[in-house]
């Protein structure tokens, strides 16, 4: 079935578009961070989809079994670390948002820019 050949990749593209659109169109800084998270999640999906093999199983050795098809462990490793690094960097971004709120009294991009122009 040709439709399923690329289905996962299309979902990745749709998610990526939603994430990108959120980052660009929303002026609220938290919303931008959420958009960035969505963008990030879409990339995770892309990598993991590439590692999947039909009829495969998780890359953990099955004792005593012959001819087991294992999915590719490499994308799993890359994404596993990326997720944890992602939350650490998100936290860094959020802490900057907190500081911006304290300095400007708002986390809306346009209000901040307006305030900057006035100053």
């Amino acid at each position: 079935m040709i439709f399923f050949d690329h289905f996962n990749y299309w979902i990745f593209v749709i998610l990526l578009m939603i994430g990108l659109f959120t980052v660009m169109s929303r002026t609220n800084l938290i919303k931008k961070m959420i958009g960035l998270s969505l963008f990030q999640i879409s990339v995770f999906l892309f990598y993991i989809s590439m590692g999947k093999i039909d009829e495969g199983t998780a890359p953990i050795v099955v004792e005593g079994a012959q001819d087991v098809v294992y999915s590719n462990p490499l994308p799993h490793v890359l994404i596993l670390t990326a997720i944890v690094v992602g939350v650490a960097t998100t936290a860094l971004g959020l802490s900057l948002v907190v500081r911006i709120k304290e300095s400007f009294g708002t986390i809306d991009e346009e209000d901040i820019l307006a305030r900057e122009d006035k100053a």
Partner: protein, 352 residues
């Protein structure tokens, strides 16, 4: 059947993402993002990535939701309605999307065993790692041994991010004092790192003493959360799990405790000093294993030389390295939570 489960989950994912985009209340958006993460974890399970699913469920649906909520407590959860029409962003997104969809037609079909990505280094990992490393979970052996240098870099990034959040959020709020708005007397924030000075009042106030049910449930749950984290840490060689997941789950136990009983009591158990020390200790442990293997005549992070038997050496090396990862991740998550929650508590003092 499996295919339809996949399609259902994927559509749920897209619907979740769209609602995150359109909902105006940031609190709701955060909750929906957590739901999206959880659906993603389910998809990862069906794509055979059990370790990744584990991490996504713990991090995406757990810790990052807590972080967003911590931020919302400080900045408020209302989003202003958009003032301009987002035509240009829409066009750019559509353009990027179209280009990517066009590109996917050149990609090999999903799930084939002869795709280029499956024929490069992966067969070697799959065929040799059980013999070379002797660890059933290939993800662990690739993570900690074959790509150990890479993982060392990731741990350093987490360490740096933890330090960064501490630096950014533990600075005093000078502007507030200048403005001298609601504050009476010196700013109470100056006591942030000082456990003793956090007098009884915040402890009484933040702990939700009236909510008996959460108290009892949390007390029952926390030991099991911590025990499970240890299981995930040390069973990571044999099943899904490892330092990254275990670290996050371990931290989640402490975060749950401080959400229910208040930050003050958590700080009595795990002080900020201890967290900072552990944050560095994990990285040092990881790097230390590398340096020891250098002194024993191997390459950096070459665990074969750690023991007379190469496979035993690999086991030892992976165990220590994963422990280092676990310690740093735990400490980083707790440090980040302390930074956000401490700030929120300081602000609570301002208002009263």
């Amino acid at each position: 059947m499996e295919q339809f489960t996949d399609i259902f989950l994927m559509l749920l994912l897209v619907a979740g993402a769209l609602s995150v985009l359109y909902v105006r209340n940031l609190f709701v958006a955060t909750m929906l993002l957590g739901a999206v993460s959880f659906i993603m974890a389910l998809i990862f399970v069906s794509l055979d990535a059990v370790d990744v699913a584990f991490t996504e469920a713990a991090v995406g649906a757990g810790i990052s939701t807590v972080l967003y909520l911590g931020t919302l407590a400080l900045v408020g959860s209302d989003e202003k309605p958009a003032r301009r029409r987002a035509l240009v962003p829409l066009l750019v997104s559509l353009l990027v999307g179209t280009a990517l969809v066009y590109a996917t037609f050149d990609m090999p079909a999903f799930g084939r065993a002869d795709n280029p990505v499956q024929t490069h280094v992966a067969p070697r990992y799959i065929e040799e790692s059980p013999k070379e490393i002797g660890v059933p979970n290939m993800v662990t052996s690739v993570l900690a041994s074959y790509r150990g240098f890479d993982t060392f870099g990731e741990v350093t990034v987490i360490f740096t991010a933890g330090i960064g959040v501490l630096l950014i959020l533990s600075q005093l709020r000078r502007r507030r004092e200048d403005e001298a708005d609601l504050t009476d007397g010196p700013d109470t924030d100056t006591n942030m790192d000082n456990d003793a000075a956090a007098s009884a009042s915040p402890a009484e106030r933040v702990g939700s003493e009236h909510d008996l049910v959460p108290h009892v449930v949390a007390k029952l749950l926390i030991p099991f959360i911590l025990l499970f984290a240890l299981y995930v840490q040390f069973h990571g060689d044999f099943g899904p799990g490892g330092g990254f997941q275990a670290g996050v789950i371990f931290a989640a136990g402490f975060i749950l405790y401080s959400l229910i009983f208040g930050l003050h009591f958590t700080r009595q158990i795990v002080s900020t000093r201890l967290v900072k020390f552990l944050l560095a200790l994990g990285v040092v442990l990881y790097g230390g294993v590398g340096v020891v293997s250098l002194f024993l005549g191997g390459n950096f992070l070459d665990y074969n030389v750690l023991s007379a038997d190469p496979v035993a050496g690999q086991h030892l090396g992976i165990l220590l390295v994963e422990l280092g990862v676990g310690i740093t991740v735990t400490a980083a998550m707790i440090a980040i939570f302390y930074a956000f929650a401490g700030r929120a508590e300081g602000r609570g003092n301002d208002i009263n």
